[in-house]
């Protein structure tokens, strides 16, 4: 007997009689996030602000890179959204450099998403800024592929993490426009195999721009600052001499 209505049909008979139909969806599961990300990216471009998604392991030097480039780009032109599980340690660091910074604490969240960025932007005065740097949660896995409104991804990858990171964590490098090899002053001490690293990273992404930095050589951040200026010029359609991609 049918369990639902008490009729005489068996479950098998009911299944045979079941009229099924297929509804085509063909839509990304992340469509809600991606729509907001698209809107953010579009709005920032309209305001002539380049948005960078800065990703890398915890301690790979993301905040140090921002501090470093603020010697070559006027800090008043930079805004930062900081993503960390807890604390405002990096916000305080950047505010000492006169950089407008908004802190997001994700608590247990492993990456930032477009909704979080949208909310942050509603609470920031970004008019007049030229660069929005989003320092994602330190993680080489989860932030990869999550759109947050960025115009470009830059990954920081420190020599102390080892030269095998591109082989072990390829996803994060796949769509990146650039990678910054940080802590190069420690290369020798940690036996960083630069040749192998560059070969492996260009096997994943042949178009990636590779830069290097060291907090012991403040002038090493100049190239990253120039790269960002170049990327912004591209975004807003300004012409400039072409030295690289």
């Amino acid at each position: 007997m049918c369990k639902e209505c008490g009729c005489d049909s068996t479950e098998e008979q009911k299944n045979e009689n079941k009229q099924t139909k297929e509804i085509m969806i063909d839509r990304s599961v992340n469509i809600a996030n991606d729509s907001i990300a698209h809107m953010i990216s579009h709005n920032l471009k309209d305001k002539k602000i380049l948005c960078i998604n800065l990703m890398g392991s915890p301690g790979s030097g993301k905040t140090t890179v921002i501090e470093g480039i603020s010697s070559y780009i006027n800090p008043e032109e930079i805004a930062v959204i900081q993503g960390d599980l807890e604390s405002d340690i990096d916000k305080i660091r950047l505010e000492k450099k006169n950089i407008l910074t908004y802190q997001i604490n994700t608590h247990s969240g492993c990456h930032l998403d477009a909704m979080m960025i949208n909310k942050a932007l509603l609470n920031m005065k970004i008019i007049g800024k030229r660069y929005l740097l989003i320092e994602n949660v330190g993680n080489l896995v989860c932030p990869a592929g999550i759109k947050i409104g960025q115009h470009a991804d830059i990954v920081t990858s420190s020599t102390t993490e080892g030269s095998d990171k591109p082989k072990k964590y390829p996803h994060i490098f796949l769509d990146a426009k650039a990678v910054v090899i940080t802590k190069t002053d420690l290369s020798e001490a940690v036996s960083f195999d630069e040749k192998r690293y560059i070969k492996d990273i260009t096997d994943i992404n042949s178009k990636i721009k590779i830069m290097k930095s060291s907090s012991k050589q403040p002038e090493s951040f100049k190239e990253i600052a120039e790269y960002m200026i170049h990327q912004r010029d591209h975004l807003i359609g300004l012409s400039h001499p072409h030295h690289d991609r």
């Binding site: 099924t20 297929e22 063909d26 990304s28 599961v29 592929g145 796949l174 096997d203 178009k207």
Partner: protein, 114 residues
């Protein structure tokens, strides 16, 4: 870990579609690209866990198809499958000047309803 939020998003779409069509879901077809950070087993696990408490979903199944990475080469213009995702080179001419055409998305393809 973010398969949980992805699964919740899938469920939201199923409920919307079934409400619209005044029907119940039987099978949900999902494509998961190799280059996403989503894993088939976790998506199925979260779906099976979440559906238990839902009258509409409890008899339905999530069917996940894994999608390989496919590229088109901007040099030789051929398309091909990537065997090792740490070596993203054209399998025909070995060029790195490629665009990925499949394998980066998590997509709800279709829902079988009754």
């Amino acid at each position: 870990m973010h398969e949980l939020s992805a699964t919740k998003s899938i469920i939201k779409t199923i409920i919307e579609e079934c409400t619209k069509n005044k029907s119940r879901p039987e099978e949900i077809f999902i494509d998961v690209g190799e280059l996403t950070t989503y894993k088939k087993a976790s998506l199925v696990h979260y779906y099976d866990t979440l559906k238990k408490d839902d009258e509409l979903l409890k008899d339905s199944r999530l069917l996940v198809k894994e999608i390989d990475t496919k590229i088109i080469c901007n040099d030789c213009k051929k398309t091909g499958k990537i065997i090792d995702t740490t070596i993203m080179l054209c399998p025909v001419c070995n060029s790195g000047n490629i665009d990925i055409i499949e394998g980066k998305d998590l997509i709800i393809k279709k829902i079988k309803i009754y």
